[in-house]
Amino acid sequence: MKKTYKIEVDCANCANKMEDAARKVPGVRSATVNFMALKMIVEFEDGADIPAVMKEVAARCKKVESDCEIYL
């Protein structure tokens, strides 16, 4: 299951930080942040509770880069 989310982030390095943070969330198989398109593409593990996983992704991203925003 793959989903794309719109994000808001200021610098290319912050986007990298968000990507690393998102990848470490349980239930996320892979995560890619496209800085150019300002999009985050998340692939979920089978049977993952997507809203809950994304909430965690957003929280962890906020931790590493408080200036970022994920539009769920």
Binding site: T4, D10, C11, A12, N13, A15, N16, E19, T32, V33, N34, F35, M36, A37, L38, K39, I41, K63, V64, S66
Partner: protein
Amino acid sequence: MNKKQKKMLARILAAALLMGALLLIPEGAVDRIPLFLLWLIPYGIIGWDILLKAGKGILNRQVFDENFLMAVATLGALAIGLLKTGDYVEAVAVMLFYQIGELFQSYAVGKSRRNISALMDIRPDFARVETPEGTEEKDPEEVPAGSIIQVRPGEKVPIDGIVEEGTSALNTAALTGESVPRDVKEGDEVISGCVNMSGLLRIRTTREFGESTVSRILELVENASSLKSRSENFISRFAKYYTPAVVLGAAALAVLPPLVRTLFMGLAPEWEDWIYRALTFLVISCPCALVISIPLTFFAGIGGAGKAGILVKGSVWLEELSRTGTVVFDKTGTLTVGEFEVAGVHHSPLAEEDLLEYAALAEYSSSHPIAASIRRACTRPLDPKRISHVEEISGNGVVVRIDGKEVAAGSARLMSRLGIPCSECHTAGTVVHMAIDGSYAGHILIADRIKPGAKEAVAALKASGVRETVMLTGDRDAVARQVAEQLDLDQVYGDLLPEDKVSLLEELMKSRHPKEVLAFVGDGINDAPVLTRADLGIAMGAMGSDAAIEAADVVLMDDNPMKIAKAIRISRKCMAIVRENIAFALGVKAVCLVLGAVGIANMWLAVFADVGVMVLAVLNAIRALFAGRD
């Protein structure tokens, strides 16, 4: 500027004005503590978010980042001011300039993003579908294949299809980076994403929107893998160790020399002097110039390449592209057009036109591409009533009666079967021998055409530093050699089966220079496994095959071989910028760090070493956006 940036600009202006006003207060007019509190106002306005982020970082165990360095340095400078010097300008100025640098960076990123995304703005808003009552504007996603749509001048073609009616010129610049318009007429295939420039077109859609070129390209752009380049990985690993290291270094600089002075040398410790030096050291060593500019360079480079019709699927591939030392081509569709055409008529006692007419009639019902090329070459109208008694001799040719004459057309084997001596052709290509009423009537040479610009493309590759060019093909060895000679290729391998190509490529990869990269260029027909296997797979003609787009690391939007050299040039320029930025930032910082440690540099120089270097590095990174311009 967006809302966030405007807010930041307002904060910067407010803090700068307040700072100016406070500097006008004559010395001694305000007491120590009230003066300190007054200075805290501009400091708070400009720096509260940095302090907050630094605090959050500590709570989240992400201690050592830029915010932490800035917070410690400025708070320390304020403390020295309060306890000793009564000078608070530097603390506020460091914060102020840091924020100006950040604002500048975010503005530059936004600007280049708009620059790139405007060109990638190929998504059509609607499709004008014909209905019995007239036309209706629909969401392209809701239009089934086989519908008739209208595209007016100035509009984008929303879905792939075939022109039913009308002629026009199409602008493909958004897709291919080429500005030469393409003329289309009835029966021509049109791809979505082109802009109709002159006449009204009625198009029968051949695909749904989801499978149309536009959707596939947008998907490719948005899902480009995020494989990081070695340079980026280096910088993030570097920052991980570097920042704690400079914090430790600064701590040592603040504590050790005063201790040594009092304990061993019997001198005054001069604490505030050494602490000031340590704080300067902290500001100088902030790694933002590197951390920000390196990913930005790749971002801009990939964007610049996209504008030129070259899609790079991740920064690591841009880096690999710059190290290309060997380019291996597939022949058909890459260096040659992939369409057969008659290249000559030899040894014929008949007029060329007459022989072609006989051949075209003989091959009248065959669907083979060679037969089709002969029919295309014949300019006279063909009347099938003249043909009788068609006898196909499998794999060898055909014997037919035309106007009562027995005409044989086929390979040399067919001729020997019929007992007719034939002359060999010395030029490379596919040969169709002809015999009329049992006597030899010459042969027709059919060859694939070399793409216009292929020779220049090979020369451009050499000029951009590629050492070796190789061609692989399933075609006959003689044909391969002739093409290779015309194009000045270094090595050529013909008569290959698709699986031979993979093993041969592996051989070539073994013998290449270990620091160089072997790139394979193909059109994705039969060569997707080779594209995957090569160090770097370059697919030509994104309009073509899905398999190629999937397998390749770099996708050229059109099938112009010149784009390969251009892609390499763009990547080399990007890597040069990356190296410049690393060397420049580390160099300036190293010099300033030494000056700071021995006490020559003050906070003002430190601000330049941090913010100044960052601004210059960002400006340099943005240049990568224009790397595709010639």
